[in-house]
C-alpha cells in the first residue's frame, strides 16, 4: 500500500545522487529480471526505483585501444551477443551471460544485475571471475575499481557501500592462444538455476598452459576464484594428471549446502566433472585463438 517512485536519470551523477539520498529505501533497476520478480513475491518493497538503462555509460560496449573491453553494467545479454567482436574474444563470458534465462529474459538481463543480485548461482559471475574482469563502481564518495570476485558478500549481499552503483566491467586485453569457456550443470536444458557453474580462462603457448583462472559458482555462499585449480593447470600440458589435480582442487574448494537444488555430495562431485569439461572446451578454443 506504500507508494513507489520511479526515476530514469540520464546521467550517472543524477542516479548516484538519487540512489544515495533515498538511503536504503531505493533499488537500482537494470533489466529487472531479478528485482521485479522479488517485488512481486513481496521480498522487497522499494520506495524508489532508479532505472539505469538511460545512462549511456551503463549501456555501452567499448573495445579499448589495448584490445580490452569495457561493458556497461546494464548491457543486456542480447545486445552483447550482437556485438561483432566480443564473442570472438570472450566466448566463455558471452556464453555464460547468454545462458541466463530465455530469449525474453536475454532482452533485459544484464551482467551487472546478475552480479549485484548476489546469487552464488549467477551464471555470468564465474566466467567474469575466470576472465579476470574488474568492475568500476561509483558512489557518493567517487569512483573505485575492484575485481569481480570482491563484489559478492554472501547470498543476496554485495560489498558495494550504500549509494554505490556498478558502472561497468573491464576485461583485460587478450594474449594469443587465450580463450575461455563456461559450463553449468542444470537438471533441465534451460530455464533452470545452476547447481554448479564453472568458468575457465586459460592461455596456451606451444601446448603448455601459461596462464589460467577458474571461477566456481553455486558451491559456496559466494562465487569462488579457485586459485589452487589454476595453479594445477599452469605449467602443465593439460594432461590428465594436471586436470585431475585441478578437479580435486575444485572439489576441495566446495563449501555447498544441501538444499532443494542439490546435495553437498552431488555438488562436490559435479564441480570436478565440470572443471574437466570446461578446461577441455577452453583449451580447444585456445588452440584455435
Amino acid at each position: 500500500m506504500t507508494d513507489m517512485r520511479y526515476l530514469a536519470p540520464s546521467t550517472l551523477d543524477e542516479a548516484v545522487g538519487a540512489f544515495a539520498a533515498a538511503a536504503g529505501a531505493a533499488r537500482i533497476l537494470a533489466g529487472g529480471t531479478d528485482i521485479l520478480v522479488q517485488m512481486r513475491a513481496g521480498m522487497v518493497q522499494p520506495g524508489l526505483i532508479v532505472d539505469i538503462k538511460k545512462i549511456p555509460e551503463l549501456t555501452g560496449i567499448e573495445e579499448t585501444a589495448d584490445g580490452g573491453f569495457v561493458i556497461g553494467a546494464a548491457v543486456s545479454g542480447a545486445v552483447l551477443y550482437e556485438h561483432p567482436r566480443f564473442g570472438e574474444v570472450w566466448p566463455g563470458v558471452l556464453e555464460a551471460i547468454n545462458l541466463i534465462g530465455s530469449t525474453q529474459v536475454q532482452g533485459r538481463a544484464s551482467a551487472g544485475g546478475n552480479l549485484c543480485n548476489g546469487s552464488p548461482a549467477g551464471d555470468s559471475v564465474p566466467a567474469m571471475i575466470a576472465a579476470g574482469a574488474t568492475v568500476t563502481v561509483q558512489g557518493p564518495n567517487g569512483r573505485r575499481q575492484m575485481p569481480v570476485e570482491a563484489v559478492p558478500a554472501g547470498p543476496g549481499r554485495t560489498n558495494l557501500t550504500p549509494g554505490e552503483i556498478l558502472v561497468s566491467f573491464t576485461l583485460p586485453p587478450r594474449a594469443k592462444g587465450a580463450s575461455d569457456a563456461y559450463l553449468r550443470m542444470i537438471p533441465r536444458t534451460e530455464m533452470d538455476i545452476a547447481v554448479v557453474g564453472c568458468g575457465v580462462n586459460l592461455t596456451l603457448k606451444d601446448g603448455v598452459c601459461t596462464a589460467a583462472r577458474v571461477g566456481l559458482g553455486a558451491v559456496a555462499p559466494t562465487v569462488l576464484l579457485v586459485e589452487a585449480a589454476a595453479k594445477a593447470l599452469i605449467g602443465s600440458k593439460l594432461d590428465d594428471a594436471a586436470i585431475e589435480t585441478a578437479a580435486a582442487a575444485c572439489r576441495a574448494a566446495c563449501r555447498p549446502i544441501d538444499d532443494k537444488r542439490g546435495t553437498i555430495v552431488y555438488r562436490t562431485k559435479v564441480a570436478g566433472v565440470l572443471l574437466k569439461r570446461t578446461v577441455a572446451i577452453a583449451a580447444d578454443r585456445a588452440g584455435r585463438a
Partner: protein, 751 residues
C-alpha cells in the same frame, strides 16, 4: 460407422480457438472484470496439522477497505458420517478442503478469506485475522502416515477396527493366485516408489463471482466443468442450482486438476456478504501448495511366468497418497495395472492413505501411470530373466477381444496388439544405440468414460451452423466437433461454429475428464445433426410438395430421389434456411444423453535415453508412442494429446517432485524448482496413431487424452535400465539419485 465422404473427419482443420490464443485475445478466467469488483484473498494455514480452536476476524473486518470476511461458518457443513457423493468427489471432503473446519490439515489449507477494495488491502486484512491453533504432529510421506504411532488425521477413519490413515481399500481378483504362482518358472517381485506430481497447468485457478441481492449468482471461472462448478458451489453455499449461472472461461490447462473447486464457493460467499462482484486469482505458489497434485505411491508387484513367456500370475499392492482427505485414485492404479494382459490369476489391491499434504486431484488417467510403472518395470525384468524380447513378452500376453480383465470387463475389439506389433516393426525399435544409451518399452491402459452430454445444433437464418456443447474444451473438442458436424451436414467446416455453453444455455454436461468429451459430445452432436438433417429434408419436401421420404441429403443439399429424381433443382442448406419461417420456423435440434460404450484405450511406447554418467543426467533421445486412437477425428489434436502425455510422463520420471522442508512446507512451490520439462529437454515426440474404430461409437471414437501418459514412466525407467544395466526403483530419476546409484562396477559393465 459413418463411411460417408470423410471430407473433414480425419483432417487437420484450423482450430477455432487458435487465433484468439496466439493474439492474446482469448479470455481466461483472470481476464474478466466487472464494475464495482473487489478482490478476494485466502488466509492459509501456516501449519501442516493443527486444530483450529478459534478464529477472530474482527480486526480484519474493521480495516478500512475490507468488505467481507468468510470462514468455515459461512460454508455449508457436511457431517463426516454421511457421505454425499458428487462424481468422484465427496462433499464432506470438498467442504473441508475449500475451508478448513475442525482442523487445518496441510500447510496452505484455507482457514479464512477476505474481500477488499484492493489485493493489497485484502492481504493486509489476512494478517489481522487471529487464528488460535493447537499445533499437532504431522505426517507427510506414506511410510510416516502408516507408522503405528503416526498422527491420525481423522479420528473417524478406521482401518481394521482402529483409527488409521488408511482411508479406503479396493481389490480386484481373478482366478487362483496361489495356484498361478505355483506354475511359474520365474517369479519376480519388486517394490517401487513414486512422488506426487502436479498437473502443471499454466493458468492458475481464478474466478469472478457476482451475487445479486435476489440471490442470482454468476460465476466466471476456469474449470473442467461449469456444471461441476455450479453443483459444488450450490452444495457448499446453499444457493439453489437454478440461481447459479456458471460461465466457463477459456481454460489454460487442467489435466484433471480443474475437476474440483477451490475458489468459487469462497468468492460466492464473499460476494454474497459484500454485495459486490469478487475476483480471486491464485498465485503459482498457492497452486503448488494447495491444489492438485496426483498421488505419490509405494507399490509392490509380483509377476510369475512360465519358461515360454506365459504370464501365469500377477499380484500388485498399491499404496497411494490421497493428501489430507480420502480419495486417491486407487481404482486407476489397481484397476489399470494389469489390464493390458491376458493373465488368468490376478490380485490387485489399492490402499488409500491420508497424510498432511494437499488433497490430490485427478491427473490424466488418475492412478494408472503409477500402476503401470511398477508392472511394466517388473515385466521387463521377467523378459530379461527369460531372455525374451520385452515386446515379444508383451505381445505373447497381450489382452485381446474376449480377454476377461481383472477389473471386470471382457474386452470387445481392442487395438492393443496392433500397438505392440507396430512398435515391434517400427524402425525406432531397431535403430542402433551408442554407449550409455538404452531403449525401453512399456504398455498401458485407461478405462475412458462416457456419461452425460448435451448439445444443440442450430441452423442460422443465413444457412450456417452453430453447435453448442457443454464441456470446456481443453484438448481440441471444438475443432473435432466442427469436423464431425461439417461431415454430417456436408458443408465446409468453416461454416460451423462450435461454442461451449454456460449452465444456463446448454443442458447438463458432465466434466471434461476421463477422456470422455469427444466420445460423448460426438454422440449427442451426431444425434442432433441427424435430427436437423431430417428437418431439412422435411422442409425441402414441403417446398416441393413431395413426401419427406423421397428427399435425400447429400453434399449439403436436399435432392429429390426415387420417382422424383431430377424433378426439382436441389436446395442448399442456405436456401432451405432462407425459407425456414414459411416452412415451419427455426431449424435446430438438441439432444441430451447419458452416453455409454466408451471402450478403454491402449498404448505402447518406445523410449531411448542417454545417461551422462558423470553428472547423472538422463536425456530422452527419441520417443515414439503407438496408440489405438479409435478414430482420429482431428489428427493434429490427437497427436498433441499423445505428445503431451509423453512430456508429462518424462517430467514425472526424471525431475518432478515436491520437496518438503523440515517444517512440513513445500519448499519448491514454483516452476523454477518444481522442474517440469521445458521444450529443449525433449526430442521430437513421435506419435503413431493406430485406428481401430470403437464399434460402439458413430464415428469410432475412443478416448485419447489420458492413456498417452500411462506407460511413460515405465518406458523411461526401462530405457535407463537398458543404458546402465542398473534399475532405479524410485522416481524421479533425478541427477543426484542417478549419480549416487552409479559405481565403477556398474559403469564398466555398462560400457
Amino acid at each position: 460407422m459413418n463411411e460417408i465422404s470423410n471430407k473433414w473427419i480425419g483432417t487437420n482443420t484450423i482450430r477455432p480457438d487458435g487465433a484468439d490464443k496466439v493474439t492474446g485475445r482469448a479470455a481466461y478466467a483472470a481476464d474478466t472484470s466487472m464494475p464495482g469488483m473487489i478482490w478476494g484473498r485466502v488466509l492459509r494455514s501456516p501449519h501442516p496439522h493443527a486444530r483450529i480452536k478459534s478464529i477472530d476476524t474482527s480486526k480484519a473486518e474493521a480495516l478500512q477497505g475490507v468488505k467481507a470476511v468468510v470462514t468455515s461458518k459461512d460454508i455449508v457443513e457436511f457431517p463426516v458420517d454421511k457421505p454425499v457423493a458428487l462424481g468422484i468427489q465427496d462433499m464432506r471432503w470438498m467442504s473441508r478442503n475449500v475451508m478448513a473446519r475442525e482442523k487445518a490439515l496441510f500447510h496452505g489449507h484455507p482457514v479464512a478469506a477476505v474481500a477488499a477494495m484492493s489485493e493489497a488491502i485484502a492481504a493486509e486484512a489476512c494478517k489481522l485475522i487471529e487464528v488460535d491453533y493447537e499445533v499437532l504432529p504431522w505426517a507427510i510421506e506414506i511410510e510416516d502416515a502408516l507408522k503405528p504411532d503416526a498422527p491420525i488425521l481423522h479420528d473417524f477413519v478406521q482401518f481394521e477396527g482402529k483409527p488409521s490413515n488408511i482411508a479406503g481399500t479396493l481389490e480386484h481378483k481373478l482366478g487362483d493366485i496361489e495356484a498361478g504362482f505355483a506354475k511359474a518358472d520365474v517369479v519376480i517381485e519388486r517394490s517401487f516408489t513414486t512422488r506426487p506430481v502436479h498437473q502443471g497447468y499454466i493458468e492458475t485457478h481464478a474466478c469472478l463471482v457476482s451475487v445479486l441481492s435476489d440471490g442470482k449468482t454468476t460465476i466466471w471461472s476456469s474449470s473442467q466443468g461449469q456444471f461441476m462448478v455450479r453443483a459444488m458451489t450450490s452444495l457448499l453455499t446453499g444457493i439453489p442450482q437454478s440461481s447459479i449461472r456458471a460461465i466457463p472461461a477459456e481454460i489454460g490447462g487442467g489435466f484433471g486438476g480443474k475437476t474440483i473447486v477451490y475458489l468459487e464457493p469462497l468468492a460466492t460467499m464473499l460476494s454474497k456478504k459484500s454485495g459486490r462482484p469478487v475476483k480471486m486469482v491464485m498465485s503459482r505458489e498457492e497452486v503448488m501448495r494447495a491444489t492438485g497434485p496426483t498421488s505419490g505411491s509405494t507399490s509392490t508387484v509380483k509377476i510369475g511366468a512360465t519358461k515360454d513367456g506365459t504370464i501365469v500370475a500377477a499380484q500388485g499392492v498399491f499404496y497411494l497418497q490421497a493428501g489430507c482427505f480420502p480419495g486417491s485414485p486407487i481404482r486407476g492404479a489397481a484397476g489399470c495395472a494389469f489390464a493390458p494382459y491376458n493373465i488368468a490369476n490376478v490380485v490387485s489391491r489399492g490402499f488409500d492413505v491420508v497424510s498432511n499434504r494437499s488433497k490430490v486431484a485427478a491427473y490424466r488417467a488418475p492412478g494408472a501411470p503409477i500402476g503401470a510403472y511398477a508392472v511394466e518395470c517388473v515385466l521387463d525384468e521377467v523378459a530379461e530373466a527369460l531372455k525374451i524380447d520385452p515386446l515379444d513378452l508383451r505381445i505373447k500376453n497381450a489382452a485381446r477381444e474376449g480377454t476377461k480383465a481383472a477389473h471386470g470387463p471382457v474386452y470387445p475389439r481392442i487395438g492393443l496388439l496392433e500397438t505392440m506389433e507396430s512398435a515391434r516393426k517400427h524402425p525406432h525399435y531397431k535403430a542402433p544405440l551408442g554407449k550409455f544409451q538404452g531403449r525401453g518399452v512399456a504398455s498401458g491402459y485407461w478405462f475412458n468414460a462416457g456419461g452425460e452430454s448435451s448439445a444443440q445444433v442450430n441452423i442460422t437464418e443465413d444457412g450456417n451452423v452453430v453447435v453448442t456443447t457443454g464441456h470446456p474444451d481443453i484438448g481440441g473438442s471444438r475443432a473435432a466437433i466442427a469436423n464431425i458436424a461439417a461431415e454430417l451436414l456436408g458443408i465446409d467446416y468453416r461454416r460451423v461454429s462450435v461454442l461451449i455453453g454456460d449452465t444456463a444455455t446448454v443442458g447438463y454436461s458432465n466434466l471434461t475428464g476421463g477422456s470422455r468429451v469427444l466420445f460423448a459430445s460426438a454422440i449427442v452432436v451426431t444425434d442432433s445433426a441427424e435430427q436437423v438433417i431430417g428437418q431439412l429434408k422435411a422442409r425441402a419436401a414441403k417446398i416441393w410438395g413431395i413426401s419427406a421420404d423421397a428427399v435425400v441429403w447429400e453434399n449439403g443439399e436436399a435432392r429429390p430421389s426415387g420417382d422424383h429424381t431430377g424433378n426439382f433443382p436441389t436446395m442448399t442448406l442456405a436456401e432451405i434456411a432462407a425459407k425456414a419461417t414459411e416452412t415451419g420456423g427455426p431449424i435446430g435440434a438438441g439432444v441430451q444423453l447419458n452416453t455409454t460404450g466408451a471402450e478403454g484405450g491402449f498404448s505402447t511406447h518406445i523410449c531411448d535415453v542417454e545417461v551422462d554418467v558423470d553428472l547423472g543426467i538422463v536425456r530422452v533421445l527419441r520417443y515414439t508412442s503407438f496408440q489405438d486412437v479409435g478414430r482420429a477425428i482431428h489428427p493434429a489434436y490427437v497427436e498433441g494429446q499423445i505428445q503431451g502425455g509423453a512430456v508429462q510422463g518424462i517430467g514425472w520420471a526424471l525431475n518432478e517432485e515436491y520437496i518438503y522442508n523440515k517444517k512440513g512446507h513445500v519448499d519448491n512451490p514454483g516452476f523454477l524448482d518444481y522442474r517440469m520439462p521445458v521444450c529443449s529437454d525433449m526430442p521430437m515426440l513421435d506419435a503413431v496413431m493406430i485406428e481401430i474404430p470403437n464399434p460402439k461409437h458413430p464415428q469410432g471414437v475412443r478416448g485419447v487424452g489420458e492413456v498417452p501418459l500411462v506407460p511413460v514412466m515405465a518406458a523411461v525407467a526401462n530405457a535407463v535400465h537398458s543404458a546402465l544395466g542398473k534399475r532405479y526403483y524410485s522416481l524421479p530419476m533425478s541427477p543426484p539419485k542417478v549419480l549416487e546409484g552409479l559405481d565403477e562396477g556398474t559403469l564398466q559393465a555398462a560400457e
